[in-house]
């Protein structure tokens, strides 16, 4: 990663921690609120940074390892930032029977990462999920908020290409604006 990217990430983290600190003040110091607090943090910032977990532990007056113990128990929580486009491939029963595993492999191969990882440019991340409730459309993948039913290996390439074209377009437009300024 280049220096600029790193600085930007540090800035982002600082802003995030600041925001979390403000949010925590709103919550009473109730041990029973641990999971909802973690959910709100992740809902807003998309992952639980180590420093954020420490802040939660301090706020609730419990040990960091207790917070970690709870957070790691549940599949919902993630500890690294996801990609800009979060790809979730369903491997529930119906999707498995209809070849969801092959869809997942195609995403992994195409993006050169494994499920649970994020691409180095932080554009994409892949996750496996169990049943998103559209079994009649199996196999299913979800990117961001959009559900893609009846997936086929050949559709994977097209989807990713679509995002890449979009990104190129955005980049070019940004350059254009910069040039005109």
């Amino acid at each position: 990663m280049n220096m600029e990217g790193m600085e930007q990430q540090q800035e982002e983290e600082k802003a995030m921690l600041h925001d979390i600190a403000a949010m925590l003040r709103e919550f009473e110091k109730d041990r029973g609120k641990l999971i909802p607090i973690l959910q709100i943090i992740q809902g807003k910032h998309r992952y639980l940074a180590p420093k954020a977990l420490k802040m939660v532990a301090q706020h609730l007056d419990i040990s960091s390892c207790e917070v970690y113990g709870v957070a790691t128990f549940y599949n919902q929580f993630r500890f690294t930032p996801p990609g800009k486009h979060e790809i979730k491939v369903c491997l529930g029963t119906a999707c498995h029977v209809k070849g969801g595993g092959i869809i997942l492999e195609n995403f992994e191969r195409k993006l050169e990462i494994n499920a649970g990882e994020t691409t180095p440019d932080r554009e994409f991340s892949i996750e496996r999920v169990a049943c998103v409730g559209c079994c009649a459309l199996a196999p299913v993948a979800i990117i961001g908020e959009t559900v893609y039913g009846h997936m086929a290996p050949s559709k994977v390439e097209g989807l990713i290409m679509g995002f890449e074209i979009e990104r190129e377009k955005e980049k070019r437009e940004k350059e254009k604006i910069e040039q005109t300024q």
């Binding site: 973690l38 113990g69 599949n75 029977v97 169990a130 049943c131 409730g133 079994c135 290996p153 050949s154």
Partner: protein
């Protein structure tokens, strides 16, 4: 409860109902058409949003007046997006697989004109002499809707629509009676919990009712962890108030003033709809303080689960609400005595709660008449997999598996053969053809080796490998084991390793016996239902499909040709057309090359066995073959010069 409440709950309801009806008619123009669009998760995934936009544009474009009403899901997921058009002078008509193009056409020809476009419709929702009635089709007339009666027909965002259909009348009736009267009604109805185990609901209520405790809680279990079942979510998204009403009746009956919805985190739309529904019920005095003018108070909160299958188990669920890791606890004490924060707690599934209002309204006797004697009422299944009409089906218990799969859901696509049906999710079992005449109820399914469980039902055709299915479920339970019991934690891992070896062609003599004895140990050595039932998929597949295991182990062959390490694809050079390139572009790994006489070959070292080339090959050539074991594929060398480009 004090006596003067008795009349007032029902009187207050009547006033409320009139008020709602008045408000609805104020807005409703009887001469105007209504367009109901199914917009639950499955509808949205099939493009319901675009359809809605197309209708909106069409109405503007052709200058037609009509109301668009977003509704939930009727369960016919295979036919989504579904739209019902109700136009004065016509019966309400159901259209399937509506595209934006069809939406525009409908707006012009039917809403703007008089032509209901017969070619696009599934049927009419009411009997009439113009259009065939949907109830004449098996998919509709075998069903019996008690729980999902209003799903897909009313707007889940608007409590008034539920009330207009008689919603919350059951609550007013329950509040007008002594709790004990409601209790005996539920007991006599014979309702059994729809969360899986089928425990008598009335008995459970009795325990909580009788238990001592200041702060009793009612919990609705909407964790729905089975990776192939989605009816609970559909109910919450399509008709939230029926569940809320059931919870309120339960709370009044057992003496609780606090209730919690425990909803799975993966269901954001359900969380949103339920939260909104609770707010609306509060505004109308159907929740909160002094419900319907009585002195009964009830607050309902929503708690989001965080994605752990085991948290569907009631004691683990309680742990997780208390902010801990969701580890099941030893029972007794049962939650009915010592549950949330050590207070008596009633936990029921979504479907159980939703069954309560109809039972209170129509009486126990009415309910007992539906379905079988031992499991009265209806059951909801999500029938998916290799099936023509995939979706949610609500049937009276006692219908046979054959009738459900073949009559109601249209059988197996592409004229393939039925092989097995997996019922009950990770805790359930796989049943072969011989069991198709088993009636669907709690006891018959358990006897056959499966279970009602979550209501997940995956139909598998001849191309599904039973060892692979067992491996799939073990992979799931192994990951979801909370780790408390050694046998569950390590035993499932061993089972999975052995199954994995078998599907890779490395099975050994004696593996089947080992799987069986290990399974028994896991069943006996586990505390909660997860471990006790996790080996079921393995045991039933061994019991009914032993020959498949043996073929994998002894011949290194997968009879269903599904286990990828045990199969190979090759191109039949006699059939392959010279110069055709259809398969080349479909291959994600560029494994297909051109032979010296301009036909195609597959490079086995690159092939990932995804099967894309099979679908890409034009049917008139049909040249791609699949074989098991893989060494049956003829060796076709890539021409030397081809390698360099």
């Amino acid at each position: 409860m004090n006596k003067h409440n008795k009349k007032s709950a029902e009187d207050n309801y009547t006033i409320l109902r009139h008020d709602v009806e008045r408000r609805l008619t104020e807005f409703k123009n009887e001469d105007q058409a209504h367009i109901y669009i199914g917009m639950a998760t499955c509808g949205l995934a099939s493009g319901a949003m675009d359809v809605k936009t197309a209708f909106e544009e069409g109405l503007k474009e052709y200058g037609v007046n009509a109301d668009i009403v977003p509704v939930g899901c009727v369960g016919h997921c295979y036919a989504e997006p579904l739209v019902i058009v109700a136009k004065p002078g016509f019966p309400p008509i159901l259209y399937n697989e509506v595209t934006p193009g069809k939406a525009k056409l409908l707006t012009r020809a039917f809403l703007g004109g008089e032509d209901p476009l017969f070619e696009y419709m599934l049927g009419a929702m009411e009997e009439n002499d113009m259009v065939p009635w949907v109830m004449e089709f098996p998919r509709f007339n075998h069903e019996k809707k008690v729980i999902m009666g209003q799903s897909g027909l009313i707007d889940p965002h608007d409590i008034k629509q539920y009330i207009e259909k008689g919603g919350y009348e059951a609550l007013s009736k329950a509040l007008g009676s002594e709790p004990e009267k409601n209790l005996s009604e539920v007991l006599e109805s014979g309702l059994r919990g729809r969360g899986g185990a089928g425990f008598l609901t009335g008995r459970k209520w009795q325990f909580v009712h009788d238990a001592d405790g200041e702060n009793k809680t009612v919990i609705c279990n909407a964790d729905e962890g089975d990776p192939g079942a989605y009816m609970d979510r559909t109910i919450l998204e399509s008709n939230p108030h029926q569940v809320i009403e059931g919870m309120a009746i339960a709370a009044y009956t057992v003496g609780a003033n606090r209730a919690i919805f425990y909803i799975r985190a993966e269901y954001p739309l359900a969380v949103k709809i339920i939260t909104q529904a609770i707010e609306q019920a509060k505004e109308l005095g159907l929740l909160g303080k002094g419900i319907l003018g009585t002195d009964f108070d009830l607050e309902i909160d929503v708690f989001q689960g965080s994605g752990a299958f085991v948290c569907g188990e009631e004691t683990a669920l309680i742990q997780s609400i208390q902010g801990s890791r969701g580890m099941p606890q030893l029972r007794p004490p049962y939650p009915a005595q010592k549950g949330l924060w050590n207070q008596p707690t009633l936990i029921n599934n979504v479907k159980t709660m939703a069954s309560i209002p109809p039972i209170i309204m129509n009486g126990a006797e009415w309910y007992r008449k539906i379905g079988t004697d031992n499991s009265p009422g209806t059951a909801i299944f999500s029938v998916v997999g290799n099936i023509v009409h995939a979706g949610l089906v609500e049937i009276p218990t006692g219908v046979t598996l054959r009738s459900l799969i073949f009559d109601i859901c249209g059988g197996i696509p592409e004229q393939k053969k039925f092989k097995a049906v997996q019922i009950g999710g990770p805790s359930g079992g796989c049943l072969p053809e011989e069991f198709l005449d088993t009636p669907i109820d709690f006891d018959s399914l358990t006897q056959a080796g499966a279970m009602m469980g979550s209501g997940g039902m995956v139909v598998m055709d001849e191309n599904s490998c039973m060892v692979d299915v067992a491996k799939f479920f073990l992979d799931f339970t192994q990951k979801e084991s909370c780790g408390k019991c050694t046998f569950c934690r390590i035993g499932t891992k061993h089972l999975l390793d052995i199954l994995d070896r078998i599907t890779r062609g490395e099975g050994r003599e004696g593996d089947i016996d080992l799987l069986e004895s290990l399974s028994m140990d896991i069943k006996n050595g586990s505390l909660c239902g997860l471990g006790k039932t996790a080996p079921n998929p393995v045991l039933t597949t061994i019991r009914y499909f032993r020959d498949e295991y043996e073929a994998h182990i002894k011949e290194k062959r997968c009879p269903a040709m599904m286990c990828r390490e045990l199969i190979a694809y090759y191109i039949d050079l006699d059939k392959c057309a010279r110069g055709c390139d259809a398969c080349v572009g479909s291959c994600p790994t560029d494994a297909i090359f051109t032979t010296s006489n301009r036909k195609k070959g597959i490079d086995q070292t690159l092939c990932v066995k995804c099967g894309e080339c099979v679908s890409a090959c034009p049917p008139e050539y049909d040249a791609v073959r699949k074989v098991s074991p893989p060494n049956l594929a003829p060796i076709i060398e890539r021409p030397k010069e081809d390698k360099n480009d």
